[in-house]
Structures are given as structure tokens and as C-alpha cells.
């Protein structure tokens, strides 16, 4: 299996994934909007779609109180932007009690980790690709979507990007009519990426390959780098 086929496979998937990516970013924005609406209704049962359980919000009279912590100042600004449109309705004032606390002391850029997600359809895999790309806390280094009905040369790309031991998992999923999203992220983001695949994009099965130095990663060596996402 050669690298050209892998790159071609990646590009083919990218073309089909663009619509899914835009759709998933819109869904993410919509989920954030819906979450704030639920906060105003006092019915928050789920965590914030991006910040998770670290951010809490409640309505105190006509004051929206936001508390908890975010990992960076940019996240705080994003939260403030999210609530801007709520002013004037039931909200007269926003009290921002958010603290900026970098999470843990893990160093990024030491290792990468590749995740293999299986989806019911190619559209769902494309949606997941866009969802990860649009999420503030995950910055995928490489992504590859492979549809169950992909051409042979695109399927052959698998052998270039996955270690042999995991090829069987991927081929079994494809044979079962599932589509795949293979994504490589910094190891420090792998928990978050897995959670997003499992819970926000409903991956049927997610397998995480062991962490490795980037230069040993078949995904990174084989596929072209991605553009920085427009957030």
C-alpha cells in the first residue's frame, strides 16, 4: 500500500466530508444555544456541550450567574460571546464568576494518539469529523473518513495509516457496512476526543491506539497536515 493512495483516500474523504463538517459545526453551535436556553428555563440536565461539567450557569432573578472554570482566557471569552444574545430577554445582567485554570500540568506535543471510530453511515462519520474539527478543546492533527462503500484504493489507504494489529478491527467494521473516522490528536487531547466520538457523535465503537511519538505515527507520516480550523 503506498502513500499516494492514502493521500488520495484522505482527499476523497475530505471532499465528501466538507458538508458534514459545516453541518456538524452548526449542530455544535445549536447545541450550545439550546443549552443556554435550558439554563434560562432552569432545566439543565446535561453538561455544557464544549466545556462539560466544569462550567455551571443559573438564573438568579434576572441575573445570569456563570461559575466554574475554563482552561484558557479564550474559553472565557467564548462563553461570554455565547451569552451575549441572551441579554435583554430574561437576563438583565450577566455575572461572570468563571476562573481560568489551566487543566493539569500535562505538556502538549510530546506524543500523539490515534482513535478509530466506527459509524453507521458515512454521513455520520463526516459529521464526527466536522464536530472534532470545530470543537474548541480538540485540535486533530490528521483525520481520515472511510465509507463502507469506498473504492478499493481508498480502502487500501487503511494499511498505510493503521498498524497491522488494528487493520482487522477496521476491516471488520467496513465489512459490517460501517464507515470509519480515523483521527490523530495530541495525547493530552485523546480523552476528550474519545468522549466526543462516543457521546456527541455516537460512534458505535471507538478504539484508541497506544500513544506514540508523532514521527512514528503512520497517520502523520502518511496524510497531509490539515488547515487550521476557522472557529
Amino acid at each position: 500500500m503506498d502513500d499516494d493512495a492514502a493521500r488520495e483516500g484522505s482527499r476523497g474523504a475530505v471532499d465528501s466530508g466538507t458538508a458534514g463538517e459545516q453541518e456538524s459545526r452548526e449542530v455544535l453551535r445549536e447545541r450550545v444555544r439550546a443549552w443556554w436556553t435550558q439554563v434560562l428555563a432552569g432545566q439543565v440536565d446535561h453538561d455544557h456541550p464544549i466545556q462539560g461539567s466544569n462550567v455551571k450557569a443559573r438564573l438568579d432573578g434576572n441575573t445570569l450567574v456563570i461559575s466554574g472554570s475554563v482552561p484558557a482566557e479564550a474559553d472565557r471569552q467564548e462563553i461570554e460571546a455565547e451569552v451575549e444574545h441572551l441579554r435583554g430577554n430574561d437576563v438583565n445582567e450577566v455575572r461572570d464568576e468563571l476562573k481560568v485554570e489551566p487543566r493539569g500540568d500535562e505538556r502538549p506535543d510530546l506524543l500523539v494518539q490515534t482513535l478509530l471510530g466506527a459509524f453507521e453511515t458515512a454521513e455520520q462519520a463526516g459529521f464526527a469529523e466536522g464536530y472534532l474539527q470545530g470543537h474548541a478543546h480538540v485540535d486533530p492533527r490528521r483525520m481520515l473518513v472511510l465509507a463502507a462503500e469506498a473504492a478499493d484504493d481508498q480502502r487500501a489507504a487503511l494499511a498505510a495509516v493503521l498498524p497491522e494489529a488494528y487493520l482487522g478491527h477496521a476491516e471488520r467494521a467496513l465489512a459490517a457496512g460501517r464507515s470509519l473516522l480515523i483521527v490523530t490528536v495530541d495525547e493530552t487531547q485523546a480523552f476528550q476526543a474519545r468522549e466526543l466520538l462516543d457521546e456527541e457523535t455516537r460512534s458505535l465503537e471507538t478504539i484508541v491506539l497506544p500513544p506514540e511519538p508523532a514521527e512514528r505515527s503512520s497517520m502523520i507520516r502518511t496524510l497531509p497536515a490539515r488547515e487550521e480550523p476557522v472557529r
Partner: protein, 441 residues
């Protein structure tokens, strides 16, 4: 979305460190995560407190029974169990840090659903038996204090713990409960005041003593089962997921585990010593919670039952949610459900349903009129029978380069893990043989 960039231009993927190309993942992480002496103290402190909590009511009772039945004869097993327990728990933590998934899920992905189902089933049976046993002991100490029948306390205690686990933030709550469990440190002082024959204690700790009879092997399997206990395997792996502790946290996690397990076994050692000195030397057997509490009399006299009760209640409140959650994590991992104690009930309904069922079945066991001390003891014997099978799976996972990459077991870890399996299997077979030939004691 993609730019036309040749693979060679993947330069931005290089690392912030000065690591030479090709340096192993583990070496890179090790260099980045050197732990200073001050950080060691920061890590070890909570580890010691958590280690105290590893001695649940069933554990405390089992150590007490072992001391009362066999004297110091099985102290050597506790000494040997320390490195075995540390290595096994560290392997479990590493599975979570590397695979970013829990133990049941990792077994299912790499060894198939049938094997994972068997492992989860065995662990669930052992966990539920221990929940029932812990409930019995907690209710028994309340009965000891109040004079009422123990059975009246079982359901309220179970309801309290179900509420704590389901509706409160258990991990925050547990930090307060750990102080209740700290009373077990009183066994250390009690052991000194009981004036045991220290040369004999030392001799029987460093030199293995084996008495080939069913009482001895029951004690050995129970002691090993309550020390190297299956629920901790699942709990440890899930803990790494909940804390999102990746491979850069492995070194700190290892220190935390080592400190906790050493402290846990030190406490266990002194429970055995004090029970041997106070009860075994006078030929007293433990048949009730009051008998078990008597071991603390050298320290606090007639107040021993209160001190013992506080410790048992704290340990039970800590352990039962962990046992139930450990069961729910393993079943959830098997079926791929959402699972976490940090989630609300409607966000992970199946997880909490399993957790509730585990407590309910435990209640059923506790109120079925069984002998409390026997239930506690035999639940730990069951743990001892189940543990080696799970340890084999943990060893296979962590020894696989496919699963763990550069974080695969080294020779020392692998050897120690297999030694644990061998010790448990030999003890199990010896127990089965002696019980088959001479019956239960």
C-alpha cells in the same frame, strides 16, 4: 480543508522537547514528568489516605478473623502481597491512561465479548457478595451500639448509600469519609499496647509458615482476596478515566498507588497482629462484631466497640459506593453505555440502574439471615478465587505491545504479576484440595 503539503512537511508535528527522533514514548514522558521531592509529598499524602480506605468492613473483618484463627502465621502473606498489589494496581491504572478506556471495555475490544462477559460476571458476583457482607457488618456495629437487631439497619443504610452515590458528588463526599476510616490507624497503637511477642511476629512475617489444613488455606485465600481484590482493579482503571490522567500522569499515579497500598497493608498487618495478640492467644474466635471490636480494648477499654463502629461505618460508606460503581463501570464498559459517577442519572441511566441493582441484591443477601462474620469472610474467599482469572487478563493486556505500545510491561512488572497469579492459584488449589478431602472447618 486540507492543504497540499507533502508528508515530509509534517514538521509542525515535531516536539517541544529536545528528544532525539525515534526516542520511545515512555522515555519522552519520563523526561517530561520528573517528580520533585516536594511533588512526591503532595502525591503521597492523598495516596496514604486513600489507601486507608482500601480496608473495607469485609477487609477489616477478614484480617481480624485471620489473626484470631491463625495468629501471626499468615503475616508473611501480607508482606508478599505488598509488591504484588502495587504492581497489579499500577497495571490497571496504566490500562486507563494508555487506552483511555476502562478495564471491561479494553478486555472486550481486545479479547472479545465472551471473555469480557465472563470477567465482568465474575467481578460482579464477587462485588455484590462483598456489598452484602459490608452491609451486614455496618448493620451489625449499629446493632452493637443500639442493642437493636442488625436487620433493621440494612435497608436504611443501603438507601443512604444509594442516595449518596446517585445524587451527591461521591468523590468529594469520600474526602470527608476518609477521616472516619483514619480510626483504623488506632490498630497500630492497640498492637503496641497489646504487647505481642515481637520476635515471633517478626519471624512469622519474614519466614513463610504453612499449616496444611483447611482453616489455614481458607484464611490465606480470604486474606489474599481481600488484599488483592477484584473491585479495585475496575475502580483503579475507571479512576484514571474520570481524572483524565493520561500517560504523563503515570509516574504520579504509580507513587500514589504505592503509598496507598503500602499504608493499606501496614494497617492490615497491625489488625492481624492485634487480633492475634488479644484473641488468638486466649483462644477466642470472632463470631460477632463485638468479638472483632474487642481487639481495640488494649487501647480504649470498654469504648472499643464505639471506635470500631466508627471505623466500620466510615469504611462501609466509602466502600459500598465504590463496589456498586465498580460493578456498574464494568457492566457499562461491556455494553458501551455512558458511565461515570460525575454524570447525572438521566445522562447515564443504565449505569445507575446497574449500580442500584448491585446495592439491592446486596441488601437481599444481607437480610437473608446469613451469619454476618461468615458472610464477610467467605465473600473475601470468593474474591480470592476470582482474582487470578482477572489478573491474567490484566497481565495479557498490559504485556501486549499492540494494546500498550511503548507503555508495555517491563520484565519486573510481568514477573511480579505472574507471581501474584501463581500465589493465588496455589492458595486456591490448596484450599479446594483440603476442603474436598477434609471438609469446611
Amino acid at each position: 480543508m486540507s492543504v497540499e503539503q507533502p508528508p515530509a512537511a509534517a514538521g509542525r508535528e515535531t516536539h517541544g522537547s529536545a528528544d532525539p527522533p525515534g526516542a520511545g514514548a515512555q522515555a519522552r514522558v519520563a523526561r517530561a514528568q520528573r517528580v520533585s521531592p516536594r511533588e512526591i509529598l503532595k502525591v503521597v499524602g492523598p495516596g496514604i489516605i486513600t489507601g486507608g480506605a482500601d480496608n473495607d468492613p469485609a477487609g477489616v473483618t477478614t484480617y481480624s478473623v485471620v489473626g484470631a484463627q491463625n495468629g501471626y502465621a499468615q503475616n508473611w502473606l501480607l508482606l508478599i502481597a505488598i509488591p504484588l498489589l502495587i504492581v497489579i494496581q499500577q497495571m490497571c491504572a496504566r490500562i486507563g491512561s494508555v487506552t483511555k478506556t476502562d478495564l471491561a471495555s479494553a478486555i472486550r475490544i481486545h479479547y472479545g465479548r465472551k471473555i469480557a462477559t465472563g470477567a465482568v460476571l465474575l467481578a460482579a458476583i464477587a462485588n455484590i457478595a462483598t456489598i452484602g457482607a459490608d452491609l451486614v457488618m455496618m448493620a451489625s456495629v449499629l446493632a452493637l451500639i443500639t442493642g437493636a437487631k442488625y436487620v433493621y439497619f440494612v435497608v436504611p443504610l443501603a438507601a443512604l448509600m444509594a442516595c449518596v452515590t446517585i445524587f451527591l458528588d461521591y468523590r468529594t463526599f469520600s474526602r470527608y469519609l476518609l477521616w472516619l476510616v483514619a480510626v483504623f490507624a488506632a490498630y497500630i497503637v492497640a498492637a503496641v499496647l497489646a504487647h505481642p511477642d515481637w520476635p515471633q511476629v517478626l519471624a512469622q512475617t519474614v519466614l513463610p509458615h504453612i499449616h496444611p489444613n483447611a482453616t489455614y488455606f481458607l484464611g490465606a485465600v480470604g486474606l489474599l482476596g481481600t488484599t488483592i481484590t477484584p473491585y479495585l482493579f475496575f475502580w483503579q482503571t475507571s479512576g484514571e478515566i474520570e481524572e483524565r490522567r493520561g500517560v504523563q500522569g503515570i509516574r504520579r499515579s504509580n507513587l500514589d498507588i504505592a503509598a496507598g497500598m503500602i499504608w493499606s497493608n501496614i494497617t492490615a498487618f497491625f489488625i492481624v497482629v492485634v487480633c492475634a495478640a488479644v484473641l488468638y492467644t486466649h483462644g477466642t474466635q470472632i463470631k460477632t462484631a463485638a468479638d472483632a471490636a474487642r481487639a481495640l480494648e488494649p487501647l480504649v477499654g470498654s469504648s472499643a466497640k464505639y471506635l470500631f463502629s466508627v471505623g466500620i461505618l466510615g469504611a462501609g460508606l466509602l466502600a459500598i459506593p465504590v463496589l456498586a460503581a465498580s460493578t456498574a463501570y464494568s457492566v457499562g464498559g461491556l455494553f458501551g453505555w455512558r458511565r461515570s459517577l460525575t454524570r447525572r442519572v438521566n445522562n447515564a441511566p443504565e449505569f445507575y440502574l446497574v449500580l442500584g441493582i448491585a446495592i439491592l441484591v446486596g441488601v437481599q443477601l444481607a437480610i437473608s439471615g446469613v451469619d454476618p462474620i461468615k458472610t464477610l469472610f467467605y465473600s473475601q474467599v470468593l474474591d480470592g478465587l476470582v482474582a487470578p482469572l482477572l489478573i491474567v487478563l490484566i497481565l495479557l493486556l498490559t504485556s501486549s505491545r499492540t494494546v500498550m505500545g511503548d507503555f508495555v510491561n517491563g520484565a519486573w512488572t510481568r514477573g511480579t504479576g505472574w507471581a501474584a497469579v501463581a500465589l493465588l492459584v496455589v492458595a486456591d488449589l490448596a484450599l479446594i484440595y483440603t476442603v474436598a478431602t477434609s471438609g469446611l472447618p
